[in-house]
Amino acid sequence: MIGALVPVFFGLLIFGLPIFASLALSVAAVFYFLGGMDPLLVPMRMFSGMNNFSLMSIPFFILAAELMRIGGLSDRLIGLARSVIGWLPGGLAAAAVMACLMFGSISGSSPATVIAIGSILYPAMVNAGYDKYFSIGLIATAGTLGPIVPPSIALIIYGSVTGTSVGALFAAGLLPALLVGGLLIAYATWFSARKGYPRDALPTFSSIFTALRRAAWGLGLPVILLGGIYSGIFTPTESAAAACLYGWFVGAVIYRTILFRETLIVLRNTGLISGPLLLITAGASVFSWLLASTGTPTDLASYILSTTENPILVIAAFNLILLVAGCFLDSASAIIILAPLMMPIAQELGVHPVHFGIIMLLNLSIGMLTPPVGLNLFVAMGVARMSLGEVFRATIPTMLLMLLALICVSYIPMISMLIPSWLY
């Protein structure tokens, strides 16, 4: 059955059917033509795949970030980032990375971060004389910080599939995000110094304070989100809902940019962003359920563990599989299909489930930068008005840095596990 399922799925996918539909339709086709099970199970499993309360935090996290974005948050965060590290060589480039780090603490999505920061900073960088390929490559890669910095949609999905604590996963993402961000800032500074790009004047205490005050309302959001989760007051879904209320309050009352009509538009757009994402979890869970019911996870585990029990080799193999999967699948479906196959094996070999979640996330973040399905590339194409090939070539140097970060995070568990071990 699995021998037929995978080729049918890829056939539908290459034709251009949406990923969620390809996943569900391939299972329905296998049931219909090979018999054995009623295709009626497909809509039923799609429904039950979404019927999980911790997944429902996803639309709320997206809504909170959209509310903040429309309230002019990106501008304020960029202003703050620029006043803090704009004095470095290529200050604008370093500030772009730092702004992505900060926006990531509000948004859990990679393409959303590229739009929020890139649509403002890409034109600014090009006007300031930066190379346009360098600029878009850096921003498209820095956008992957969105889901690595907590909150993270991909980690919510990983947590709900594997039964791992979402709070611990969020905490585990923090140091890897700083590692990636640090590497990107170092690269941007080195590249800019070599090219002699402009830098801002050294900041004064008062200029940083002014920028901080302008961004303060925005930076209050991660305080509520993470403070609520780690003090144990809120579940992740509740803290996301509280963040929506806060975001709406800031937009409607403080900044007065979100009125009645804007509220409705934001709600509709949030539906249009998060609905297709939840549908992917629905389609992928049908697919994953069929794999599980035919015993694929245990077969795969015994096959791999009989080949080698060396964790270094197994993690390297998983990294390769995930990098290839990341080319063809988005993060959500890759996690739902592959986490139940890989996580038990990794755990057997002594890799903590939280650590493995971060390894998967970093792999799939690189997958956001690889065609044919690389969502950050698609968004960056729109921001920079370039072709897919141009944007992809532009991201290669920074993608190599991501690979370096991936190797570090894979083999140094401390980077992921240090903060969760303090908190839990």
Partner: protein, 169 residues
């Protein structure tokens, strides 16, 4: 006819998706307030949020086609010439129609089976069959969307998704 029906569906989907998002968000906020301010958990809130957001997601099946916001692989279109690309796109739209039909057919059977067994939801005690009804309904809307895409492709003009008015500040 197809154009007119799609305009009606545009309107229905917009209103439903917006109001389901609104209901889910307001209830989620009320749940937090009830628990921490009034120390009183709402027994129905989690289920209502789940069903509202699941229905919302199914309704975006059609909207995602209309606004071209579903994630898909369109690499083959880029490599093929314009005529082959059109044939592939027509093929993809037909596959989409088949998928919609599968969901309408088996979704309706699911609704009927569940209603016959009289299964009720755990907290709110609503018949689960009513909730499953969103699947064939939303799939019908999706079929209409794919018919619209197919019409534009066959007329040779290529489907253009309307721009979503996201204010980028």
């Amino acid at each position: 006819m197809i154009l007119w029906l799609n305009r009606v569906v545009d309107w229905i989907e917009n209103i439903l998706v917006t109001s389901l998002m609104l209901v889910a968000t307001v209830v989620a906020i009320l749940q937090v307030i009830a628990r921490y301010v009034f120390n009183n958990s709402l027994y129905w809130s989690e289920e209502l949020i789940l069903y509202a957001l699941i229905s919302m997601s199914f309704l975006t099946m059609g909207m995602g086609v209309r606004y071209a916001s579903h994630i898909s692989v369109d690499a083959a279109y880029a490599f093929a010439g314009p005529r082959t690309a059109r044939v592939l796109q027509i093929g993809a739209a037909c596959l989409g129609l088949i998928f919609a039909f599968v969901l309408v057919w088996y979704g309706s059977r699911l609704v009927m089976n569940t209603s016959r067994m009289g299964q009720l939801s755990p907290a709110m005690q609503i018949p689960v069959g009513y909730i499953y009804a969103v699947i064939p309904t939303a799939a019908t809307f999706m079929a209409l969307r794919y018919l619209l895409v197919l019409r534009d492709l066959v007329l040779g003009q290529g489907y253009q998704a309307p721009q979503v008015d996201i204010k980028t500040s």
